[in-house]
Point group: C2
Chain length 312, copies 2
């Protein structure tokens, strides 16, 4: 099925996954392993090659196979270089695309994980049919990808969508991974909410949300505060971009049956009247948004980052 | 010179200006008056017609003249309807484009003031040659317009760029015109800074900035705090959009020789390393960015908002 499927790789801070994925985002063969995040860039590339070979062994010989890969940003996707990735050691300045092409032996395209997952949801998931939507992943951090007027928005270096670093509580907020106080992700990511849940006496985030669903009053207050903090960053994004839909992925998306109505109420209270009523829906592809997007990078002409000539 | 110039109108909350403007943004004939902002939408349309007739009387008969107009948002530029404009009474739901066409007798295009000024600076001013830049006006409020990958970014209803309502201090911040606490414009607009300057004992904002330039220590602390608050919103915008340049207009732009280096330092301290070094420059067209953009709406094919079919 050359041309109909691609080798997709999603490098996360914790897990590394490779799969054969088709143009509809269907995942056909997959291999997952831990990311050797503290062992340097070469070890990560070796792991990528191992995972890819495992997938290729399952699906047999394929002509014209190409590889699409996403990894935590910031990556300069056009040049194929990792600029700085706080969660993976040795990635600063590393020529990731070239190293992967050599290790796997296939032509590759790379993309920042937020825009790549947005592409996956746009082409194959909950963003289908939307000309203006924002994908927001709320997990270890908060990341995102933007589709505006029918195009994946990248910005000068392809770094658009780093929405987790919107300052929402610059005085008195928690310190972010990036070193600054009160970034959105330092206040409302899965890790931030887990930290707050534990500080409030819950065993963890799932425990706090389960107690809130059972009507326990302290847990309900915790969930309300979490929804309010998630809404603050969404209000910023909505005023900047005027999207019709917000698609939420990452672990916290599992709590949307509980949090969704509260997030919506907080967003609508915070935004100017004409911005109210934005759809807020869970990602349709779950953990596979990134894999689906990585495959689209090579399967759909025009969806890959432009080549170097776009750079100054 | 039909085809080479357009009738441009910039409706502000305070002043209303009409002018004949060419494709390079040159303002040839102009007429300014006060906006009858409290007298209802019909009074504003009458004033627009009066200003336009004054300009047309100066420049003589012109065939094929068209009118481009910008006004404070949110406007649904595609449908030509004012959605809600807090600073102009009676504008909510008002069919502005049609009313102006009938009153002036020319075909018209309307646009939100932020994107329109961005268009003016992009085609004729400090945004020239930039594929990714954000125009930020810091005056009564804070508004903006976004150019991304060589396109004026509008969003679902053409409302993208309402960056003044990014929450930067949701707890303890000043109450915004919109009713919410701690919007960027409630903390860092010209009016907000004037209020803070007066509260700190200065005669006004210009007085505080002059004292800071003279090295007076309380004034220097005031200017540093102003620069820090301006930088917070810019950091949000930069992480969302990854622009190469920020163009600052509005009255506060006059203080950029003082504030610019401090704003730049604060922005670079706040953003992730690959986002550092964004150019922050003053608008080149001063008060005329909006007029220049309004003219481009009708003079440059493709720069006007798309017609209704883009709407859901």
């Amino acid at each position: 099925m050359p041309g109909d499927a691609a080798l997709a790789v999603d490098v996360g801070g914790t897990r590394l996954r490779a799969a054969l994925v088709d143009v509809e985002g269907r995942v056909m063969h997959r291999h997952a392993m831990l990311t050797p995040a503290n062992e340097g860039a070469e070890a990560v590339v070796d792991a990528i090659a191992t995972a890819c070979r495992a997938v290729m062994a399952q699906c047999g010989a394929m002509k014209d196979l190409k590889l699409g890969l996403c990894a935590p940003g910031p990556l300069d996707a056009r040049r194929g270089v990792a600029l700085a990735t706080p969660t993976i050691r040795g990635f600063t300045g590393f020529p990731l695309r070239q190293a992967v092409e050599e290790a796997v032996g296939l032509p590759a395209v790379i993309e920042n994980d937020g825009p790549c997952a947005a592409l996956g949801e746009w082409m194959c998931g909950a963003g289908r049919g939307a000309a203006d939507f924002v994908y927001v992943t709320i997990s270890t951090g908060i990341g995102g990808g933007i589709v505006s007027e029918g195009r994946l928005l990248r910005g000068r270096l392809g770094l658009a969508g780093h929405i987790g670093h919107i300052p929402i509580r610059p005085e008195g907020g928690a310190t972010c991974f990036c070193g600054q106080p009160g970034c959105w992700e330092a206040e409302a990511s899965g890790s931030a909410l887990t930290r707050k849940a534990v500080a409030a006496g819950f065993a963890g985030l799932a425990d706090a949300f389960a107690a809130a669903e059972a009507g326990e009053s302290q847990a309900m207050a915790f969930a309300a505060a979490a929804a309010a903090d998630i809404a603050l960053g969404l209000a910023a994004v909505i005023h900047v971009l005027n999207p019709e839909r917000i698609v939420i992925g990452g672990g916290v998306a599992n709590a949307l049956p509980l949090l969704g109505p509260m997030i919506r109420r907080n967003v609508d209270a915070r935004v100017l009247p004409p911005f109210r009523g934005v759809d807020i829906v869970p990602a349709a592809l779950g953990d596979d948004s990134g894999l689906a997007g990585a495959a689209q990078l090579v399967l759909r002409p025009g969806s890959a980052p432009a080549a170097d000539e776009g750079l100054a």
